[in-house]
């Protein structure tokens, strides 16, 4: 199901995220890869699950294969597609393939640079940028490829995009967001945000953009992780207060604390967004607790 239908119905859309495994899926149908197990934990609490595309430029199982795997297991996937490893022929072909295999939602991104990953000598593609990719996907929907040739049975998928509210200067990031909207982006998920002021400035400036936006949150598991993200994860900053608070409890209680902190943050801001995108980084089992702290009824998601 296209998640744009949910936005249209005015529902608060909850999505999660899993990363495909580094390896192939077993031929034994009874053996599920860990990413499918994580998605299973999530499935009763979210509307759909993002499937990342060789996230952080680390080579893994393909996002399309993993998306199809989730779909077959009854979980609604959002297929992430990046410009890093594919030229415009491969991007279009993958979009047609995705639709043909039953995918209803795609998230179209630039992709992390190869230098961030585990194959640093690979040739970066970046034939298109994300705005051009969205426009091309819209073109396929309208029945033609990027060169203008007609295509048979045009695909019809919800086209999502990302935006980073932490970006400085924000106006430059919003300029790109506006271009994505003009190109055909139907919904947005934000990069992980932890800072209330960042949220409020972003909301104030995008209110009139007229597209549903899901607030992106990443589970902060430990103070070390906060410091690591500030050092190594591009475009995300974790305020001191978050790092101190997660550090204030024993290791054994961190999962509970993290869920509580994230829940409180979502509760504070949920009315300003049309949904939330939760990246639990493996701690999928506490997603129900997060939603409870956030005051979002779990039934709302199903």
């Amino acid at each position: 199901m296209k998640i744009t239908k949910l936005f249209q119905r005015g529902e608060f859309v909850i999505t999660g995220e899993v990363g495909p495994i580094k390896g192939a899926v077993s031929r034994d149908w009874r053996v599920s890869p860990s990413c499918a197990q994580e998605a299973w934990h999530l499935q009763d609490f979210v509307h759909a699950v993002n499937v990342t595309d060789n996230q952080s430029a680390v080579m893994r199982l393909g996002s399309l294969a993993a998306s199809v795997g989730l779909k077959q297991r009854g979980i609604e996937p959002i297929f992430q597609l990046t410009c890093r490893d594919r030229n415009r022929i491969a991007l279009q072909s993958d979009l047609l393939t995705a639709y043909s295999l039953g995918i209803d939602n795609v998230l179209l991104l630039t992709g992390d640079h190869i230098q961030l990953g585990d194959h640093k000598s690979a040739k970066p593609v970046f034939d298109l940028d994300s705005v051009q990719l969205i426009r091309m996907a819209k073109g396929l929907q309208a029945g033609h490829d990027i060169t203008g040739h007609d295509i048979e049975n045009p695909p019809d998928m919800a086209l999502g995009a990302v935006v980073n509210p932490n970006f400085e200067p924000l106006d430059l990031q919003l300029l790109k967001m506006r271009k994505k909207i003009d190109a055909g982006a139907e919904f947005f998920q934000t990069q992980a945000v932890y800072d209330d002021r960042v949220v409020d400035e972003f909301v104030a400036k995008t209110e009139k953009f007229g597209r549903p936006i899901q607030l992106g949150v990443v589970m902060l598991k430990s103070p070390q992780m906060g410091a690591f993200m500030n050092r190594n994860v591009s475009g995300i900053s974790v305020p001191r207060a978050w790092i101190d608070e997660i550090g204030s409890v024993d290791k054994a209680d961190r999962k509970k604390k993290a869920a509580e902190m994230m829940g409180r943050f979502i509760a504070r801001h949920k009315d300003k967004f049309q949904g939330v995108h939760i990246m639990p980084l493996g701690w999928t089992d506490v997603v129900p607790e997060i939603l409870e702290h956030a005051g979002i009824s779990v039934a709302a998601a199903r």
């Binding site: 410009c83 890093r84 415009r88 630039t110 992709g111 992390d112 640079h113 230098q115 961030l116 970066p124 970046f126 034939d127 298109l128 940028d129 994300s130 705005v131 051009q132 426009r135 990027i146 990302v162 935006v163 980073n164 970006f167 400085e168 200067p169 430059l172 990031q173 300029l175 790109k176 271009k179 003009d182 190109a183 990069q191 591009s234 475009g235 900053s237």
Partner: protein
């Protein structure tokens, strides 16, 4: 200019077979500025090779300061006439210049064996005598009118044409925290110039056929023709 850096001497030595007679050629323009193949470095290379037992039959840097090795007619005259005696004895030519210069020596010697003495790294601006920086990637279809003259194909690690990715951190690129995000540079420059509206228009994908290799330029005083996989494009420089 074409920025070049000398290959390590150990690598160069591996190119040369026992008993091979080598003639060393430098370049009086770009490689001179890069200290990779000017008169001093070329002479030094001849000596360094000799010291290591290589039979160097001669060396030269064609022309006066500022003369490019890649100017074929001149390089041919120097190698075939001025240095005829030494070059006739040479089994091979070690070229201290860019890849274009290496090919020029092939042409100038009617197909002699050549060795590249340098890695050719980019086309750059000589910012100072000790600093050469890359601002253009020679893409064949210049788009920097709308970016205030700053090239997104070069200054942005992902060559994005419609604005930044989400990865910049405090104005620095996600790929290298020591280097400014090209898009932040573009934005700040246009903001200062009061020309931010230039960024509003959608920029279509590049025509990579114009970036195909090899390309060719046919020139006359009145017009030029750019030949690439995108076809032949002739432009007049008259009215």
């Amino acid at each position: 200019m074409h920025a070049t850096i000398q290959k390590p001497i150990t690598e160069i030595l591996r190119f040369i077979r026992p008993g091979e007679k080598v003639f060393v050629v430098g370049c009086n323009n770009c490689a001179w500025k890069c200290h990779s193949g000017g008169p001093d470095e070329t002479k030094a290379m001849a000596e360094r090779l000799t010291r290591r037992g290589v039979d160097v039959v001669g060396y030269t840097v064609p022309g006066p300061q500022g003369m490019s090795l890649c100017k074929l007619d001149h390089t041919r005259k120097v190698l075939q006439q001025d240095y005829a005696e030494q070059t006739r004895r040479a089994d091979s030519f070690l070229v201290l210049g860019c890849g274009q210069g290496v090919h020029t020596v092939i042409d100038a010697t009617d197909g002699a064996m050549v060795h590249p003495g340098c890695d050719t790294i980019f086309g750059g601006e000589t910012v100072s005598e000790s600093d050469i920086q890359e601002f253009c990637s020679l893409c064949g279809e210049c788009v920097i009118e709308y970016t205030g003259g700053l090239c997104p194909m070069t200054l942005c690690s992902k060559q994005l044409l419609n604005g930044p990715c989400g990865g910049a951190e405090k104005g620095m690129c996600e790929v290298d925290p020591e280097r400014p995000c090209g898009w932040v540079l573009i934005y700040e420059r246009l903001r200062k110039l009061g020309r931010l509206e230039l960024l509003d228009a959608y920029q279509p994908p590049k025509d990579h056929a114009k970036w195909s290799r090899p390309r060719r330029l046919e020139v006359s005083p009145f017009e030029a023709t750019f030949c690439s996989q995108a076809g032949r494009v002739t432009v007049s420089n008259q009215d």
